[in-house]
């Protein structure tokens, strides 16, 4: 097929996905403020537009107009580069996420930007690079709070990344592939019963993944890096205006990516929970329905994120490190042994 067609369609896909992702980021912030508000028995934003729906727009505009400070003590190149790294990493990993059935338009995937065989590895790699954004921002700020926040954050991220990576091995064992489409296809045979969390017996891995993912995204109850009661704002204390907002955006974009990955790996991706019971509904509905299921599952995970934030208090730092190394890591390793034993006995190819 024509190379330029491929390039053009890819660029259009990237533009559409980025616009949707950034809108989703803005409205996840609003959703969080609304839900946390209701959990705390108040309304949340309700003045800007109907139900406060224009609040993200107002916030974005406000942040753009704020004074962009460049403190004298900072190491300027890294201070400016750090938020760019954080945001770029957060926006990149969405490229390998498939969000709908395998439908081609002129030979190009319609619902995935880049269908690579090592999709899962790409996501792990890109999110690892995201640590640099936080570590460099804290160090280059030359502020004690920033440095402590960045150190805590880096140590926390690398610790939980181990458990996170190992919890995914069970899923890869079952699918025999790192391709995210193959991983979903394996789970799509008997509706919800064949999802990895149920039929794959990966429920332990699921909870290890979810816990580690909360730590990876610096979210409550693992938000030690920005524990405002002890570190004012952690690694982004010295940042103002949109540079601050970029850390904010990357945190929420990471939340969305993590929710997408959890959906793909454990909840059957875009497959319907009772899809095997129904034959085809015709080509158009068959294309749209999977996207609906995918978005619904991602939304569920985002809601749980916010729910957890509204409910749980923060860990103490020694508890956090102890939990990651002494609980999650051994559990993840045990899960690999049990899963491979089970698959070895029941499902050799």
């Amino acid at each position: 097929m024509n190379f330029w067609w491929f390039l053009l369609l890819s660029i259009i896909k990237i533009a559409v996905v980025l616009v949707i992702l950034l809108t989703a980021v803005a409205y996840t912030v609003l959703l969080e403020r609304k839900v946390v508000g209701r959990i705390q028995n108040r309304w949340g934003p309700s003045r800007v537009g109907p139900f406060g729906l224009l609040q993200p727009l107002a916030d974005g505009l406000k942040l753009f107009l704020k004074e962009d400070l460049l403190p004298t003590a900072v190491y300027k190149p890294l201070y400016i580069l750090a938020p760019v790294i954080a945001l770029a990493c957060a926006l990149t990993s969405i490229a390998v996420v498939p969000f709908g059935a395998d439908i081609k338009f002129k030979g190009v995937d319609l619902f995935q930007i880049a269908n690579v065989n090592i999709g899962l590895l790409v996501i792990l790699a890109v999110t690892s690079v995201g640590v640099y954004g936080i570590a460099l921002s804290g160090w280059s700020s030359n502020n004690k709070y920033s440095l402590l926040g960045a150190l805590r954050s880096s140590a926390q991220l690398v610790s939980y990344e181990l458990a996170l990576g190992l919890s995914l091995v069970g899923v890869v064992l079952r699918a025999g592939s790192l391709n995210l489409r193959t991983i979903v296809d394996v789970q799509a045979t008997h509706g919800a019963l064949s999802w990895n969390i149920f039929g794959g017996f990966q429920i332990v891995a699921f909870f290890v993944y979810l816990t580690a993912a909360y730590a990876e995204t610096n979210r409550t109850p693992f938000d030690l890096p920005e524990a405002e009661s002890e570190l004012t704002a952690g690694y982004h204390t010295e940042y103002s205006s949109m540079k601050f907002a970029m850390f904010f955006m990357s945190e929420y974009a990471n939340m969305i990516t993590v929710s997408c990955v959890a959906t793909l790996l454990f909840l059957g991706g875009w497959s319907s929970p009772f899809g095997h019971l129904f034959p085809s509904f015709g080509p158009v509905i068959d294309a749209i329905l999977p996207v609906f299921w995918f978005v619904a599952k991602v939304f569920f995970f985002l809601f749980v994120y916010i729910w957890v934030r509204g409910t749980l208090p923060r860990f103490r730092y020694d508890q956090l490190m102890g939990f990651g190394w002494k609980v999650l890591l051994p559990v993840a390793i045990a899960n690999i042994v049990v899963t491979s034993l089970w698959l070895g006995f029941t499902r050799p190819l």
Partner: protein
């Protein structure tokens, strides 16, 4: 069926990286252009909750952060070895002619990893509260 070479699939990924980084730089640039600047000496100081700045942040910090980083490198390399094994695991009975060969191989390997964790654990590196001189 794919009608184009497989390597083309990496091209959109590359474009995505460039676009994402470009977007980040554009936001930084725009914010610098649009944001009103009324900086003063006090504003440009490092933030220490309003009191005058005391020294800078280039001091010493706990060696435990360094230990954790080192442990991460060791164990992450071990974790990475799990992935190729996991991909090929269900083909191993056919490839090796033995039903549980792949399983026992990995149990031996994981055994070493677990011994490593056990050593680190007993050495007290994972206990952030205990303050021992030999750390």
């Amino acid at each position: 069926m794919q009608s184009h070479p497989y390597t083309w699939n990496y091209l959109p990924l590359l474009i995505q990286v460039v676009v994402a980084a470009g977007l980040g730089l554009a936001i930084v640039g725009l914010s610098w252009l649009i944001g009103r600047g009324r900086a003063s000496k006090a504003k440009l100081d490092a933030y220490e909750c309003g009191v005058p700045v005391e020294g800078d942040a280039r001091g010493r910090f706990s060696v435990r952060f360094y230990m954790v980083a080192m442990l991460f490198i060791l164990f992450d390399v071990e974790a990475v070895f799990m992935l190729p094994w996991a991909v090929i695991y269900r083909h191993l009975p056919v490839l090796t002619g033995s039903r549980m060969f792949g399983f026992w191989e990995m149990v031996v390997y994981l055994g070493f990893v677990v011994v490593g964790i056990f050593y680190v654990w007993k050495k007290g590196i994972l206990d952030w509260t205990n303050d021992r001189g030999d750390l």
